[in-house]
């Protein structure tokens, strides 16, 4: 195998996952080369895993040895040929990053919390088992807001992740690490989890594709629960087709997850490749395009709407009158489940234990462990949820919130009688500067105003890049009825390809080169983003 030059390694990491897979199958590259190129990229731009450097800090743990070993296995199987080579999964050998909320044997799982620092899971999450079975080298574990609670990844106990488009800005959250890793070409694929937008909002602000599948489409077994009725695992990628391919890989019924859907959801990649929009009825959610949305965000959104219309979609405006209550309901249901789900972190069976000076009763040890182990945002939500479930308040808070949830589900059901898909901007704002909203929880919560309703209703949603506003990515969100993931991928891919045509380049090619790798800037991919022309900025 010839040694790849730095330049070609840099080109390699900018391929889409499906392109990488194709070249692996064609024998043009090896998985070891591909995996090493990504590990080199991580070494070049991510900075130290403890977050003390000035890099992106997408990774909390880099899994070098195991990733290369898996890559070598794939290469050996492919070299040997025969049925085993034929039976390899189409994505075999394409490396992937995993959000550190998903448990993995052989690598630490921290949930970005001091509570679990150093904890090694004795079992693999179902999605990780599937990734291992398909032989995708796992590059490492990505940063997040502690226990996935936050919209900026600033609530990680192990340092902020920085947005590759502007290292002074947030990458979104909670899955800022996975989004930044994919945006900065440290991984072509990543796993995220989305409870109120933790895949889609980071996708929007980092210019990546993030999909939250239908609730139950992907197993939650081995995903550290934040809010069980809202959590869903999904793909983080640079293209819609890559996302569809990854969802096909990780999805399907899991007998270990009682809430997982019995039937598999096939044909997602096929739908993404179809890209036909003619006759598709698309509704603009009237409640999600006004107040609180940045002008630049709305402008990119309107342009995308026009592109969809031009491509033959029937676009109309649809009202979901109860969406105004979604945020309020979410911030009662989610913390209620959080307060119960996080009760197990008490220092008794696993994770860190803090014993007060001079020993203490079991209650005191549990109290000290939780006081020291959880960060402020986690504590805030535990307290909120404990209160909402208390006797005498349950009906007023948790009970009312569940009623609102039902109303929102009905709103969507009614809307989907009129249209096939709904659209809105994914996030009301582009990436904001680090620290800007850290002391204002409500302002932080408002980032998820457009993404939360899908979690409450259990329907699928995807964010795709819609262009730039003042040099920062803007995302557009497609929502589909439950089990309508294929339609969602189809429309999202159609918009993606038409926008690409208009820009004359894939969206990610507009990303700024990161300092550490600028010397290796390939020809033909100029730093176009700085001028923000590709998105048609007004």
């Amino acid at each position: 195998m010839t040694e790849l030059t730095e330049l070609s390694a840099n080109e390699l990491i900018k391929l889409t996952a499906l392109q990488m897979a194709e070249r692996l199958r064609a024998g043009e590259i090896t998985s070891v080369e591909l995996t090493q190129a990504h590990l080199d990229r991580i070494a070049a731009v991510d900075g130290p895993a403890d977050g003390q450097g000035t890099g992106v800090h997408a990774f909390l743990h880099v899994n070098t040895e195991e990733a290369l070993a898996v890559a070598a296995e794939v290469d050996a199987i492919r070299a040997a040929g025969g049925t085993e080579a034929q039976d390899l999964h189409p994505l075999a050998g394409v490396p992937i990053a995993v959000k550190d909320l998903i448990v993995t044997v052989g690598q630490p799982t921290t949930a970005a919390s001091k509570m679990l620092e150093g904890w090694m899971s004795p079992y693999d999450a179902t999605v990780v088992e599937k990734i291992r079975a398909a032989r995708l080298p796992i590059l490492g574990k990505t940063n997040l807001d502690e226990f996935a609670m936050g919209s900026s990844t600033e609530h990680s106990a192990f340092g902020d992740t920085r947005n590759p488009w502007d290292l002074g800005r947030i990458p979104g959250g909670s899955g800022g690490g996975s989004a930044a890793a994919v945006a900065a070409f440290m991984a072509p694929l990543a796993l995220g989890t989305d409870t109120g937008g933790s895949i889609r909002q980071p996708g929007a602000v980092t210019g990546t594709v993030g999909a939250k599948p239908t609730y139950g489409a992907v197993s939650r077994y081995g995903v550290i629960a934040m809010a069980s009725s809202l959590d869903q695992v999904g793909p983080v990628t640079r293209t819609v087709s890559d996302a569809a391919a990854l969802q096909e890989l990780i999805g399907g019924h899991d007998p270990k997850d009682s809430t997982s859907l019995p039937e598999p959801m096939d044909g997602l990649l096929e739908a993404a490749r179809n890209g036909e929009l003619a006759g598709l009825r698309i509704g603009i959610i009237a409640e999600l395009e006004g107040e609180g949305f940045q002008e630049g965000v709305l402008a990119r959104f309107q342009e995308s709407v026009q592109v969809l219309k031009d491509a033959g979609a029937e676009v109309s405006e649809v009202s979901c009158p109860h969406l105004g209550y979604a945020l309020g309901a979410y911030y009662l249901i989610m913390p209620s489940e959080v307060s119960s789900n996080l009760a197990k972190f008490d220092g008794v069976r696993f994770g860190n234990r803090v014993v007060p000076d001079g020993g203490g009763t079991i209650e005191q040890v549990m109290g000290a462990t939780r006081a020291a182990g959880f960060g402020d945002e986690v504590k805030r939500r535990i307290i909120l949820g404990t209160y909402a479930l208390s006797a005498g308040y349950y009906d007023a808070y948790y009970g009312s919130a569940q009623k609102v949830r039902t109303l929102i589900q009905r709103d969507f059901a009614a809307a989907f009688e009129q249209v096939d898909l709904l659209i809105s901007p994914t996030s009301p704002v582009t990436a904001f500067p680090l620290g800007e909203k850290l002391d204002d929880p409500v302002a932080m919560y408002n980032n998820d105003i457009a993404t939360i309703p899908a979690n409450l209703a259990g329907i699928p949603g995807i964010s795709v890049p819609a262009g730039l506003s003042e040099g920062l990515p803007v995302g557009i969100q497609f929502l589909a009825p439950a089990r309508g993931d294929a339609t969602m991928y189809r429309a999202a891919a159609a918009l993606e390809s038409r926008l690409e045509e208009a820009w004359g380049t894939p969206f990610w090619a507009q990303a700024p080169e990161l300092a550490a790798s600028s010397a290796a800037a390939p020809a033909g991919v100029e730093n176009a983003a700085a001028t923000a022309t590709a998105g048609g900025e007004n």
Binding site: V223, S340, F345, E363
Partner: protein, 504 residues
Amino acid sequence: MAAVTDEVLTFDEAMAQYEPVLGFEVHVELNTKTKMFSSAPNGFGDEPNTNVTPVDLGLPGVLPVVNGKAVEYSIKLGLALNCQIAEVCGFARKNYFYPDTPKNFQTSQYDDPIAHDGWLDVELEDGTVFRVEIERAHMEEDAGKLTHQGGASGRIQDAASSLVDYNRAGVPLVEIVTKPITGAGERAAELAKAYVTQIRDIVKNLGISDARMERGNVRCDANVSLMPKGSTVFGTRTETKNVNSTRAVAHAVTYEIQRQAAVLASGGSVTQETRHWQEGTRTTTSGRPKSDADDYRYFPEPDLVPIHTTAEWIERLRAELPEPPAERRKRLQADWGFSDEEFRDVVNAGVLDEIAATIEAGASASAARKWWMGEIARLANLAEKDIAELGVTPADVVEVEALIAEKTINDKLAKQVLGFVADGEGAPRAIVEARSLAVVSDDGALNAAVEAAIAENPGVVDKIKAGKLQAIGALIGPVMKATRGQADAARVREIVMEQLGVSE
């Protein structure tokens, strides 16, 4: 242990003034192969923390999956208790921090139990039938087992450290809750014992639980309150937790009636609280105050989906139910040829199933009755245990009968053997071998012993020779003594007659 002794009235004094109101919460551990929400084995007595999966330890990321068998067992129990079976029901989380609860919440049914609104006709010793209304039977999971070390009370409060075994965590439980039981009057304790006994027999008969109270398979919380005679307003109740034998249930109810009566009679008021049963003193002691304000922050378990029961499913399970106990009793009495009195004694002694199993395994009805109502009952009484909890099995009795039939042992030895079985020494045949208990069938040894007895008792010999054959017994005694009871009395008699030249 707190040395506080509560004042009590005599039972008769208490009954003269007050009417007891009872309520029972009986927890039944189901004997499914695996746990309620995980694939871990549901076993008893294994090495601590070996019957566990990540789910049972509440590790990060785990999810529960409902054991379908446990649901079927619960439905069967509901049907046996004449309950309505819910068309749709679900689980909730009962949130509280305690180290025996791996997730710090218990997954339990809350406001939609799988079975509700049933009844059970409880038969008292004299044949009186008392109907107990069942409010609900719901599914939940058991907690782990804590062993507190270094404290005087054996409780967590003053322990230096505690060990926790999660083998029991997640074992499927059904909790059967009665409606308040009024009108039992002075038979309250008797009813309590009969109710728990009957629940135990039902779950055993259904085959859904090992039903061994000494292992905690069936555990009873007894609620007791008093109201002045003639009143219909319930008094404040106490809940005595984990009363783990049918006798103790009766004692606990009696004690609480007497204690509460003393409190009320002296103008005091009963504190609503959890109380602990003290087997040693046959009293209850104050536990933690319990109020209706205990806040477990119940909410629907979001990791599980509702259980839908179809009419077809329920009917299939109903068809699988074993014969109802009352009908079964009629049939067995006829089959065995017992008189009404004999049969009621058997039922009241709680050994109906044991005798049935013993007969099933090959013993005659009279032999089975003889052993269970005789020596085994005596041993249980001596040990202050229920017969079923003594540790003698129907198979042991059949083995004893076989040993007698083959003349390896006689009745006297058989009694000793049963005593050793109850002491946990093993199965009868093994005990006979280990302890060299077999009857002396060596005629040489017996002849010598008979010769000695004849020589020492010339007066007796004269009587026998004169035709008084019943005097032979006076020679058998010394021979048995000389052989330490291991001689076959019939054979000894034969040898005496041979040696003295007499015949029947």
